[in-house]
Symmetry: C2
């Protein structure tokens, strides 16, 4: 018999340092349209990518604590830097399933490479954590080579909406050329920051040009949505009563997120509420 | 008789959202080499330029409270955004003189224009506050025209050290062309963010080219150091016992500031200490 867990109607909690996580929400809503989602963007302390592990863990615990007060059935860390630093801390603190974006992205990258050479781009925090490389080596028993390159300017470019044209093209060329020198045989590139899918076209073009082959780009958000679906199914937590789930958005600071959120989410954003959790 | 106030040996407190304020410290140490300085970089919550007025005021009050615990004789807000939003709040809370960077920059700009057309570039927060324009209009009885343009990508470029070459050149060209369309008669440009002096050469080149005349750039840090000197003199607070003042640096997060601080400060940086004021 197909039983429904009594918690299945509860929302999924999702947090990110700001708006980047909306690209993960977009994937979640595509894969799981019936799920209710409560999102927290920590816009008062954004960005996380340049901050220390200790500080990011502290912020992640505060974000999770707020979302748990909304009675969520699962927590998704929709930020690569927060996933890299604070997944274990959150799992040990919380009694609900916690999903980060790094492992799902690593699995997808491992499955996609034929040349066994995977590149990773991300924030300084994500890259220096080495988490993507660690998982990919584990998943491949050390048969896959990895190299990574921090791309700190991609975040402000995406937030500015400068995602086409000469400036982002030049910036992408600079970063990806460095990666090419480290890993010339690369055929798969992990977009290891939730802002990067907005620059997907420019990254794809520069990659194909610099590596002289078609490079497969991995958007961890899409892989994460699939893992969330599997986890909800295996725990009989899928919400089957809904056709169109609700999206409730909280932020820790008002500025900007309401105006640029649409671009990341791919749907109109309304009713953003500010909360003080500082 | 030249009396010395008993507080004159106390340090000057300086805060900024991160490393940008070191350009103000550099100017202070040049103008007032005998003064002891205690600096706080709020690197755990950087940047301020994209955050709301309310949030920036909250952070500024916390920073000031930490510096006051170090028994400072004066507070310098070495951040344009924090000066724009929180000068009044800090003045009403503290019993020591509080100096922001905006008014000194406005005075210097007013004195430097012959065409009575002053441009201002800064963060979104500083530009939307309209503080520079307000002071310049007051100082000139409304005879000087102003226009401003937010340049959000300049901060990450300066932090990355991308201050020469094609990328910052293109970015500067884009922002300054917008300003030229608003204020074609401009002859003075205020660098209304403490990060921008690092991009001074590229801004100067692009300005001269776009406006087809020599544009005078105003570094508010230098003007602020002069105002600090006058204020210390008038309150007999100048430290006359020292030839070489000490610089003590605190940060709220460890990452990056120690490694990129030298570039902003123009002297070697040592003994950076992390404090938890969150």
């Amino acid at each position: 018999m197909d039983t429904n867990n009594s918690s299945s109607n509860l929302p999924i909690g999702v947090f990110d340092s700001g708006v980047g996580g909306f690209t993960v929400v977009k994937a979640l809503r595509h894969t799981l349209p019936g799920e209710n989602i409560v999102y927290l963007g920590d816009s008062a302390r954004v960005p996380y990518g340049t901050k220390s592990r200790e500080t990011v863990i502290k912020y992640s615990l505060k974000n999770a604590s707020f979302l748990c007060s909304k009675n969520i059935k699962m927590l998704v860390i929709a930020c690569n830097t927060a996933s890299a630093h604070s997944l274990e801390a959150l799992r040990s603190e919380l009694d609900i399933p916690v999903i980060g974006v790094i492992y799902p992205g690593a699995v997808s990258a491992r499955q996609s490479t034929s040349r066994n050479n995977i590149g990773i781009i991300g924030t300084e925090g994500t890259v220096s954590s080495g988490e993507y490389g660690k998982y990919i080596r584990e998943l491949s028993n050390g048969t896959v080579n990895t190299a990574s390159e921090p791309c700190p300017l991609f975040v402000p470019l995406a937030e500015e909406g400068w995602v086409f044209g000469e400036v982002p093209g030049l910036v992408a060329h600079k970063y990806l050329s460095r990666l090419q020198r480290k890993l010339p045989e690369m055929d798969v590139l992990v977009l290891g920051c939730t802002h990067y899918p907005l620059l997907r076209d420019i990254i794809q073009n520069e990659c194909d040009r610099i590596f002289s082959r078609r490079i497969k780009l991995i958007d961890s958000g899409i892989s994460t949505a699939q893992v969330v679906q599997q986890k909800l199914e295996s725990q009989t937590l899928l919400n089957k009563n809904n056709l169109h789930g609700e999206l409730q958005v909280f932020v820790t600071d008002t500025s900007k997120i309401s105006t640029i959120g649409n671009r990341f989410l791919g749907e109109p954003l309304s009713g953003v509420e500010r909360v003080d959790i500082l």
